[in-house]
């Protein structure tokens, strides 16, 4: 942080010179509106929801009753349904993230280090454009691609293959597809920041392509990869719509929360279930914080 150079007092800008010598005041002016918004709208709402997890629902009226207890938390921690669904959701989120990173690395590398400036621009547009097609339409397109008379079955049936049908593999494919641009863009940005001179130096010192990638590119790229993974991981963790469209009868954590808010009308239990993804995300963020990934989102 550079120290602002003290300038002499200028009568023409009383406000500016007043602010100039008061860094704390300038900071407070900058921060007050955003902190007011995020603190009041978001953190207060989140805290209120978490508190609700310790309340209960009146079985007769269906209203939330302020009656402090740990029943919901105990239910969520010990119920086998919640454990199974948590493991399934976590597994899907990890697989989606791994698939996305594996697909994103070569295309981001080609965009950042091989393609000409003109092609780079075309490829960025090509990667970003699918984001503008509605999430729902794309999920539904996968439903039609994977159906028994869909394009997947049509393409692989001559080779004796068949569609995986609707289920967890279809859910993983569809979610990986939906979040791919969100993973490609940070990794592409990270690769753009790796100077070409370092790659050339590594080559001059005798390292092959693979060695250069492993020892020079990858260590610099980790924060960007993790930044991308935060998107695919957390977006998957809360999803309930895609799994409804292509997941067959499978439920994820989002479905359990959704059912308890809607049909079951049990907000306290829904709040207790939401503690699971919140805890997972906080552990994840705390683990990756040291890599500097949060500055690369």
């Amino acid at each position: 942080m550079t120290v602002p150079i003290q300038t002499r007092e200028r009568r023409s800008h009383p406000v500016s010179s007043f602010l100039h010598s008061r860094a704390r005041l300038r900071l407070a002016l900058l921060l007050s509106a955003p902190l007011f918004w995020l603190g009041l709208v978001y953190i207060a709402a989140l805290a209120a929801l978490l508190i609700t997890a310790f309340w209960t629902v009146d079985t007769f009226t269906g209203q939330v009753k302020i009656e402090w207890n740990l029943d919901n938390i105990v239910t969520v921690l010990t119920g086998s349904l919640y454990q199974t669904v948590t493991m399934r959701t976590l597994g899907v989120a990890i697989l989606v993230t791994v698939v996305d990173i594996i697909i994103a690395l070569p295309i981001a590398f080609f965009m950042a280090k091989v393609a000409s400036v003109r092609w780079q621009r075309i490829l960025v547009i090509a990667v970003l454009m699918p984001l503008w097609a509605s999430y729902l339409v794309k999920a539904y397109a996968w439903r039609s691609v994977l159906s028994h008379d869909g394009i997947f079955a049509w393409l692989v049936s001559p080779f004796g293959g068949s569609t995986p049908g609707y289920g967890l593999p279809a859910t993983i494919m569809t979610l990986a597809y939906l979040w791919l641009p969100y993973v490609i863009m940070p990794i592409y940005g990270g690769l753009e920041r790796v100077p070409n001179s370092l790659l050339e130096a590594s080559g001059d010192l005798g390292a092959g392509s693979w060695r250069t990638f492993r020892s020079v590119v990858l260590p610099m790229l980790w924060p960007a990869i993790i930044a991308g993974s935060i998107f695919s991981f957390s977006l998957t963790l809360g999803d309930y719509i895609t799994v409804n469209i292509v997941g067959g009868a499978n439920q994820m954590l989002g479905n359990l929360v959704y059912t308890n808010v809607g049909a079951a009308n049990n907000l306290p239990l829904a709040a207790a279930i939401s503690l699971i993804p919140i805890a997972i995300i906080f552990v994840y963020l705390a683990t990756v914080r040291r890599t500097g990934a949060l500055n690369n989102l």
């Binding site: 921060l31 918004w37 709208v41 729902l136 539904y140 397109a141």
Partner: protein
């Protein structure tokens, strides 16, 4: 890295393959928008322009698009304002609690949408006693859009440094003049990129919207969800999706051009 010709070609081939896979589902949507089969069987039994005609006459679709544009514009404006303020604060000052503020900005996008949705729904209805409306959707969308503006602007601020602003202040410019003539032109294309992404995020958001929209507020994703599973309406939804993808080329193209122009004309300071 001096990649061998074989390595470059295989990387190019992988890229082409991935892009092809990315566009197959979109291609299916495009072709199905002309299909005579309302249940979207493959290959299409025949082709018709009926759905395109019906889509352009659909009052529901155009009203939903208008609602979504209004919400996205309002949410993006708020996000641009708050995101710029917070990135200036975090980039130009060191203070106690800086990491906490950083986390606070990221949280609305890092936590699953359904949690943000039910938390805000609960806060609006039961704590504040506010009726859900279009305003509550805008407030909710702005909250998770702040982070994308913040990320773009803070990355730019980090790159351009403070020397030009200090020079401006030394030459006697007021705080506002310095922002208007020095800082703003430097972050302009970052604001555009962040604003575009915020607009896209808000425009396509379904989960948070489900929980914060009042009765009668039908955004485009809500309209799509209502119509997607009706057999006679699914092809009309496909037409709307195709039109949106085609229209989106224009803003993405201009954002790219502006970003490219800034990079070559030395906004790096």
């Amino acid at each position: 890295m001096r990649l061998s010709k074989a390595a470059r070609i295989s990387l190019g081939a992988i890229t082409a393959l991935i892009l092809a896979l990315m566009y197959i589902p979109l291609g299916v949507v495009f072709i199905n928008s002309f299909s005579t089969s309302a249940s979207l069987t493959w290959p299409p039994p025949g082709f018709t322009l009926e759905w395109w005609g019906r889509a352009f006459q659909s009052a529901g679709a155009s009203e939903a698009i208008l609602t979504s544009v209004q919400i996205a514009l309002a949410a993006t404006t708020i996000a641009l304002l708050l995101g710029t303020l917070i990135s200036l604060a975090l980039q130009r000052y060191t203070f106690f609690g800086r990491d906490a503020v950083n986390l606070l900005v990221i949280l609305p996008i890092a936590l699953p949408g359904i949690i943000t949705g039910i938390a805000l729904n609960n806060a609006f209805r039961t704590i504040l006693g506010i009726q859900l409306s279009i305003v509550t959707v805008i407030v909710a969308h702005a909250t998770f859009c702040i982070v994308v503006v913040f990320n773009n602007v803070i990355a730019r601020l980090r790159r351009v440094g403070t020397s030009l602003e200090e020079a401006s202040a030394d030459l006697g410019a007021s705080t506002w003049t310095t922002f208007r003539l020095v800082t703003f032109p430097q972050i302009r294309s970052a604001l555009l990129a962040g604003g575009l992404l915020a607009f896209a995020l808000s425009f396509d958001e379904i989960i948070v919207t489900t929980f914060t929209a009042g009765a009668g507020v039908t955004t485009l994703p809500i309209w799509i969800l209502e119509n997607l599973f009706r057999p006679s309406q699914a092809p009309v939804v496909n037409v709307v999706a195709v039109v949106l993808v085609l229209v989106s080329i224009i803003p993405i193209y201009f954002a790219q051009r502006l970003a490219g122009a800034d990079a070559t004309h030395g906004s790096r300071g």
